[in-house]
């Protein structure tokens, strides 16, 4: 059963390979790489801060948008919907999780970004325009649009895990709540509280997905290495810069820097996924 070990070896090998291949950039820039926002292939100066910023902000926003909806869907699927609705509905959610990200991106450029530009963003600006987040020129593409697309993409993932975790909570607990005179929502709330570490695990897993998402983000985030307060402004993410620049990178320093961005991305997603799995195991194993 060497093949099983192969997987463990593979993960180590991936991290080793990226560590070695990014040596050039790591030696030259050191920790400045993370804190500098100057990314200039011509002068061979590389700092990854704008990408890290874009990735973190878009992913966290996506999670904030997605989480309440995901929990709602999971509750709907596991507690409210009758079986005749539940089965086709779960199927649709599975499909939503299986659609290739390139299609989300494509749809994002041609349908969703214009919708943001013409409807959502003007409304936000006219009502909440006094906040720095909603100032500036409206492009349609940008940080906010990317966050929404990401939110759509991670909702099925978080919802599926929340649903599984809720299923792992024994029915007897809910019956006990009902027997004490709780309303339906109060019984559900108790189940949710009991499942909270599992739900948190699902959320963290969704966050990991959002951080690593490449194609859809590349197509709608605007691809501009800058840090601006306004969410309407274009931005850039770690995965997108790799996708855009890697195959046409000029010098070895450029490649090495991109691999270092990849290494950071790998490290972050590795930690986040490990955390998420531990949280999820802690709930589902008990049941």
């Amino acid at each position: 059963m060497i093949f099983a070990f192969l997987i463990v070896g593979l993960v180590f090998f991936i991290s080793y390979e990226m560590f070695v291949d990014s040596a050039e950039s790591r030696h030259k820039f050191g920790f400045d790489f993370i804190f500098s926002s100057n990314w200039n292939p011509v002068t061979e100066e590389f700092g990854a801060l704008p990408f890290i910023y874009g990735t973190i902000i878009s992913s966290i926003l996506a999670l904030l948008i997605s989480l309440p909806v995901s929990i709602g869907v999971a509750v709907f699927l596991s507690e409210i919907a009758p079986k005749s609705v539940r089965t086709p509905f779960s199927f649709l959610i599975e499909i939503l999780a299986a659609i290739p990200s390139i299609i989300y991106g494509f749809w994002g450029i041609f349908v969703f970004a214009p919708f943001m530009r013409n409807t959502v963003q003007p409304i936000l600006q006219s009502t909440l325009g006094f906040l720095p987040f909603f100032k500036g020129v409206i492009y349609g593409t940008g940080l906010l649009t990317a966050s929404f697309i990401l939110a759509i993409m991670i909702t099925p993932i978080i919802a599926a895990i929340t649903r599984d975790v809720l299923k792992a909570i024994p029915v007897s607990q809910r019956e006990a709540a009902y027997a004490l005179g709780a309303t339906r929502w109060e019984a559900i709330k108790m189940a949710l509280l009991n499942a909270k570490s599992g739900i948190l695990g699902g959320a963290v897993l969704g966050l990991g997905r959002a951080i690593g998402e490449t194609m859809a983000v590349t197509m709608v985030i605007g691809n501009k290495a800058q840090i601006k307060a306004s969410l309407f402004e274009p931005a850039y993410s770690m995965a997108s810069v790799i996708a855009n620049e890697f195959s046409e990178a000029s010098g070895s320093m450029h490649i090495s820097s991109l691999i270092e961005v990849g290494l950071i991305l790998f490290g972050v997603t590795f930690v986040i996924n490990s955390l998420a799995r531990l949280l999820i195991y802690s709930v589902t194993r008990k049941a």
Binding site: I71, A98, P100, R184
Partner: protein, 291 residues
């Protein structure tokens, strides 16, 4: 109402609780609808734009040079098939065998580590897998190639296949394993010829799911398989792939190319839909017989 009032003595509180109940339950239903809306929108939009652009040329013609109308994605479709075949050579055996290990030897520390690593591997962004394939195949070969792309897709397929193999094997009743062992059949033969054979339809669905996922992957192919506007049959050369072609056409400024990209997107969505439908059907049968 009056009965409850006398018992609880707090009618207002109860009214409020019932109201909260109604609101929250409705919000959950609304959440369900909100989630499904983009799916339906994407599905119908892609179908509408894709179907009108889909024609025989799409499947039989090569891409036309910039500025000329027409052409198709024949080379990209063939390229995707080649890449998936290459990926399957790596992904299917490793995925299934690891799944067997995790399920049949569950409980041991090693199998827990493997299970955990598999879960973590499934969360690693596919673009990272692309960099990895670039590092160990493209760099030494000094050129982009279908081999590198297939390798990346293979790694991406592994966790999906492992996970489903594991779950399907867990559905096989313990008594069958005992029956085989009691005949003096060794443990690995029992796993391979009795348990896996019994769960084979479930495992095949896992493979299908992994293939559907790999077919839509774009990021790891960007700098491994790279893409190609021409026929390419040798696997140590850059090769076109459907999602790469969709990406290139989608961000181009030409309407005709956008139409073709929608056609490609439609083909991909159809693939995902059909595979998921098959998986549903097969796994439902599985549950039917085991309960």
């Amino acid at each position: 109402m009056t009965g409850i009032e006398t018992i609880s003595g707090r009618p207002k509180n109860l009214t409020r609780r019932k109201l909260v109940n109604k609101i929250m339950i409705s919000l959950c239903v609304v959440a369900g609808i909100i989630t499904i809306l983009p799916l339906l929108y994407i599905f119908f939009y892609t179908t509408k734009s894709g179907l009108t652009s889909l024609n025989l040329d799409f499947f039989t013609q090569l891409p036309k040079p910039v500025g000329e109308e027409g052409g198709g994605m024949a080379n990209a479709i063939v390229g995707s098939l080649v890449l998936i075949a290459l990926g399957s050579v790596i992904g299917i055996p490793v995925g299934i065998l690891a799944g067997i290990y995790v399920s049949e030897y569950s409980g041991s520390i090693i199998s827990t580590i493997v299970k955990f690593t598999t879960d973590v591997l499934s969360g690693i962004p596919s673009i990272i897998i692309g960099i990895f394939a670039y590092g160990i195949i493209v760099l030494p070969m000094k050129r982009f190639s279908a081999i590198a792309g297939g390798f990346a897709l293979g790694i991406i397929m592994i966790p999906t296949i492992t996970k489903i193999t594991e779950e399907m094997l867990k559905l096989v009743p313990q008594t069958l394993r005992e029956a085989s062992l009691a005949l003096g059949v060794s443990r690995w033969k029992t796993s391979l010829f009795v348990v896996v054979k019994t769960a084979s339809s479930g495992i095949i669905t896992g493979v299908l799911l992994a293939i559907a996922r790999a077919a839509g992957e774009t990021a790891p192919l960007l700098f491994t398989s790279f893409g190609n506007s021409f026929w390419q049959t040798s696997i140590d050369e850059p090769m076109a792939a459907l999602p790469l072609q969709i990406f290139a056409y989608a961000i181009s400024p030409y309407d005709d190319w956008h139409r073709q990209a929608w056609a490609g997107a439609f083909v991909l969505i159809l693939l995902v839909f059909v595979v998921n439908l098959i998986v549903r059907y097969v796994t439902r049968n599985k549950f039917g017989t085991s309960q």
